[in-house]
């Protein structure tokens, strides 16, 4: 297996990309904390990565395999956090209606407001 060069190279490529993403996460954290920004480090890191790629400080092919793997499987990454709901079984039993109604109303409202506003402004502009 060790002698299987293409496999090994692909794994190394993914690992390199992951390390670059983690470096940007760390920089984003440090940046957001230093400037006391209300935004989480991961979002600051995302904006910094986009800038780094645009300015070609970071070659796209170095991060692409890891980034695409993470984006494709992002939904899986939410599962363990979601299982955490079991801790709040009692609370959910008592307040399920306001939680459901509030979430659903907000989901529909955001979809329509953002979709309509964006489309209208594109046509107007």
């Amino acid at each position: 297996m060790i002698g299987n060069r293409p496999d090994l190279r692909r794994a190394a490529h993914h690992l390199l990309g992951l390390l670059i993403l983690l470096a940007f996460l760390w920089m984003g954290d440090a940046f957001a904390r230093a400037l006391r920004l209300p935004l989480p480090g991961s979002v600051a890191g995302m904006l910094m990565l986009a800038r780094g790629l645009r300015m070609r400080w970071i070659p796209e092919r170095a991060v692409r395999p890891a980034a695409e793997l993470l984006i494709r499987n992002m939904a899986l990454l939410f599962v363990p956090a979601g299982v955490g709901v079991m801790v709040y079984a009692g609370l959910l039993g008592r307040e399920w209606l306001p939680i459901l109604a509030g979430s659903a109303a907000s989901t529909v409202a955001v979809l329509l407001v953002v979709g309509w506003m964006q489309q209208r402004m594109e046509r107007g502009g």
Binding site: L21, L22, F24, L25, P38, L39, P40, S42, V43, G45, L47, M48, L49, A50, L53, E60, V63, R64, A66, A67, E68, L70, I71, M74, A75, L76, L77, F78, V79, P80, A81, G82, V83, G84, V85, M86, V87, Y88, L91, E95, P98, I99, A101, G102, S103, S106, T107, V108, A109, V110, L111, L112, V113, V114, G115, W116, M117, Q118, M121, E122
Partner: protein, 235 residues
Amino acid sequence: MADAAAALLALAATLAVYAAARGLQRRLKSVWLHPVLVSIMVLIAALRVLGIDYEEYDRGGRILTFFLGPAVVALGLPLARQMEEIGRRGRALLLSLLAGAAIGTLSATLVAALLGASGPVVRSLAPRAVTTPIAIGIAERVGGLPALSAVVAIFTGVLGAVIGPPLLRAAGVRSRTAFGLAMGAAAHGVGTARAAEEGEVEAASSGLAIGLMGVFTAVLAPLVLALLERLGWLM
């Protein structure tokens, strides 16, 4: 050693359940059988039956949660590719998402408060529309329950991913940017995963919406909650 083995077992079980849930959805083609929601319910049922508490399970589970941070950073890649497109529509994008963040936080907290939800629950609903790691951060700041915010974010992510495309089509939204933006704004990562099935423009604008919704909501949520407090609708 036994700890590591148990953590790996929890991780393997999560991956196996998720893979099976994805297979089930592909076979039955029902949008409601979202693999994330099905996996969560199956895993909770299994932990209950086996008498394993969440903390024990999460020793393996948080290996996956760890990758949420780099996954959000990874969205910088589609963002960089679509930067020019986004730059041309920058003002419209910012206005749409600012309105979305305001309406999203206000409608979730207001409806819950009027239906008699307790203070911590209302506060947990404030970051409803934003991606889970950001929602957890906001919940900590405004006095919500981070785990509840995480779960509400996931649930509405699934809801938005399911009802988003038919709702947007019925509402006459044809623009690919508007479609992606609305999906990312209402349903963060799960919505983006759904939007990405439509194409790269949708994926990129959806990814951008996740980030900007996170920023705008982080700023607006404390203001909205202070307003509800002043009106006497929130303890």
